[in-house]
């Protein structure tokens, strides 16, 4: 593999990891209450 392909794979992989981290963090069971809270709180703003 040449340098360009390695860079390409590294970037793609890196992005994928970031995405997985966001999904993981968002959907962690422990976080459920917290992450869903705003949708209830926004209902009583007026």
């Amino acid at each position: 593999m040449d340098l360009a392909s390695i860079m390409y794979l590294a970037v793609t992989f890196g992005l994928f990891v970031i995405f997985a981290l966001i999904v993981g963090n968002t959907y962690k069971r422990k976080n459920k209450q917290k992450k869903e809270a705003p949708k209830y709180r926004m209902m009583d703003d007026d």
């Binding site: 992005l15 963090n25 992450k35 705003p38």
Partner: protein, 290 residues
Amino acid sequence: MWEKKPILLMLMATAAILVGTTITMILPFVWVNTEADRIEGVTPYTPLEQEGRDIYMREGCNNCHTQTVRPLVAEVLRYGDYSKSGEFVYDRPFLWGSKRTGPDLARLGGKYPDAWHYQHMETPRSIFPKTNMPAYGWLSNNALKPDKVRRKMQVLGFPHSEAQIAELATKNEMDAIIAYMQKLGSDIPWRQTGRTEIVGELRNPFSGADQTTLAGWRPLYQSNCSACHGTNMEGGIGPELVGDYYDEETLFRIIYDGIAAGGMPAYANLGSERVWQLVNLIKYDQSTGD
């Protein structure tokens, strides 16, 4: 985490936006418009042409006309050789457009004689009665401003001589926009190299057609040729058409390939059948011309 920290969230959003931006918008500068793109023969616009280009932009011709030919069979047949990156290096900005209400103009230069353009710009409907292109005759009333154009050429860094600038005083906006149109796409010699070859022997498929059949083909002449050769082939922008001057085969070649140097457009895109009908009409129809 970030859902409680707006600044952090915005920084992250900026980072997300910048990834695709860097790769697809910034990175290409490394390759585009570099030496590798350069095409011999592509020259900057002259003062008259550049001013014509600016008028084209001012009038928003790009809302109806595109300026890039894609490498697709029907498109190359209709407009000419497909566009290359190097042809646009002096275009600030590009004028490729996004809508073809009118035809593509990327290969317009040299397709028609100047006289055709003057007539078409003045009254497009005199050439195509059903076109929706607006009339631009009023451009002839507007003089050019040499000093302004000089300044533009300096900002663009295009070569120009004082003689060229001085000459502008004698021209109007119509002259400028037509000069620009004659420049479009003609920096590469595609007309000479790109001709569609007619292969095989040429044989008139309509030999001996009677006068009524011929009369049925007259609308074909009226819609494509009469603007230049007159309603009765008596001549106008192009010469009078006299059937006896040429044999069938030569006539076919003239119409099919055009006479690039003389301002006679090529009509290969009508298809050989219809070109043969025109040949027969010119040579044998007794109601017109000779």
